[in-house]
């Protein structure tokens, strides 16, 4: 029993580090793209709004598995010779970005209309209203849902394991085959490693949420 734990540990830690890398890189990527999409959705230019809406709708309604399949299948035909790892990063970024955009939008929802109206009535333009009045107030409220998006991303990185990225789930899959006698132990060990990432993130989100509620 304990042998199995010791035996799988090196592979698990390598997988854990890979999962963290996927989370960090595609998390930053999804945040940047998500902010862009959210900005496009409120921009005065109709074609940008439309593009952002279609982008969000399509990506939110396709399973991650198919998004990654697209990356592993179509992007190489388009003339890239990227490895599965960067392709998985692209897929996870693309899949997560509309959720980031929606989280930001829901934060904007929380800012009373009067705030924007007041800013406009004292003569501020679009950029000023957004950056000086709406955004600072929305930012606080955006953090908890945003953390939830990143928690979901942590769990979604496991799908990259199906596409030959050596992250935690792929290591778990291999470990269950190498240690058929202690399958439960090996699985719980992997679950524990995921919880090490997700539970603290959830606690942070909860704490911030409470603080925001008190402040309002």
């Amino acid at each position: 029993m304990i042998d199995a734990i010791i035996d799988v540990s090196p592979a698990y830690f390598a997988g854990f580090v890979m999962t963290l890398q996927l989370l960090a890189i595609s998390g930053v990527g999804a945040f940047v793209v998500g902010v862009l999409i959210a900005t496009m959705r409120i921009s005065p230019v109709p074609s940008l709004r439309m593009f952002a809406t279609v982008y969000t709708e399509v990506l939110r309604n396709v399973p991650l598995l198919l998004v990654l399949m697209f990356c592993a299948l179509v992007i190489p035909i388009l003339g890239s010779d990227l490895d599965y790892y960067p392709l998985a990063l692209i897929g996870l970024t693309a899949y997560t970005s509309p959720f980031v955009a929606e989280a930001i939008r829901s934060g904007f929802n929380g800012v009373p209309v009067g705030q924007a109206e007041a800013a406009r009535s004292v003569g501020m333009g679009f950029a000023q209203t957004v950056t000086l009045v709406v955004l600072p107030q929305a930012a606080r409220m955006v953090v908890p849902p945003l953390i939830n998006v990143f928690i979901a991303l942590t769990k979604n990185t496991s799908v990259a394991g199906i596409f030959f990225v050596d992250e935690l789930f792929k290591q778990t899959d291999a470990a269950t085959r190498d240690h058929p006698d202690s399958v439960i132990l090996v699985l719980i060990y992997a679950a524990f490693l995921y919880l090490v990432i997700t539970v603290p993130l959830g606690l942070i989100a909860g704490a911030i949420e409470k603080k925001v509620v008190v402040m309002r």
């Binding site: 959705r41 409120i42 005065p44 230019v45 109709p46 074609s47 940008l48 593009f51 709708e57 939110r60 309604n61 396709v62 399973p63 991650l64 598995l65 198919l66 399949m69 697209f70 299948l73 179509v74 035909i77 388009l78 003339g79 929606e102 939008r105 829901s106 904007f108 929802n109 929380g110 800012v111 009373p112 209309v113 705030q115 924007a116 109206e117 406009r120 333009g125 209203t129 957004v130 929305a138 942590t154 769990k155 979604n156 990185t157 496991s158 799908v159 199906i162 778990t172 899959d173 269950t176 399958v183 699985l187 992997a190 679950a191 995921y194 919880l195 997700t198 539970v199 959830g202 509620v213």
Partner: protein, 306 residues
Amino acid sequence: MSLSVLYDAPGPKTRRRSMIASIIGVILIVAFFFWMYLTLAAPRVNANGAIQPGTFDPSRWDILALPDVWISFGIGTLNTLRMAAVAAALAVLIGILFSFGRTSRFAAVRGITGVILEFVRGIPVLLMIFFVFLVFAAGSYWSGVFGLALYNGAIIGEALRAGVKSLPRGQREAGLAVGLTPIKAWAFIEFPQAFRQMLPIILAQLVVLLKDTSLAFIVSYPELARTIGNNRNFFGSRYMFTLFAIGLVIYLVLNLTMSWIARFVARRSGPRLGKALPNTPRQIGVDGTRAITLPGPGYGPPDPPH
């Protein structure tokens, strides 16, 4: 067409500028897709020097004429729906149980439910399905159903709990005052209100569940994503793009329909019941953003309590 308070109604100059920007935007997007189309359509040279026909070459699409392909995709779609429907019903049930446990009078029950909930919520669905499959030897269908139901049930449970918490305390107190037991007060007064209020969130979660059925692919359940793989194994990888395209379109149709239903229900039951309580989660995904959209017919102040 929603007007925004963030900028003025455009004048002739701005309209012209925005028109130009729109045209450039459309041209760029069309150009990108055209480039993608051309690249995909171009014949490719293999690593070993053999020339493959382009992705849109008729020789790569001729399997569409075979009824077997369509039958297999039909079965795959049905299997996906079969799993999603049962898992959704179970998820709502488990969600109710979770929310009940989390609001229990007994600290021990609350504590245990909380720990289970954190565990279930914190690990990937893929791992959950795999866990049920290996540990309980449940067979591919039921491991998918239980994995999905547990995970989504935990999230629905938390939504319901938030819904109960956001109700005015007087609701429960009034129930207790007329002699209901705490359980009855929960079941007849608090829960029905919380459920209706949270319906948009629950439905949105069920869309996620429908998407996540694709993960049952890992335990060889013959749903839609697996159907793509099976057909690829049968017809060869030259048809991969074709098969992928079929699967993608079916998923989009299924999920967009579900999302549309969810949004429709949200519009009908959400805003009216979601009173102006600070904790009331606002629905996400309904058009427009409150801070920037002028109040239209659907966006006025909440109706007074009935």
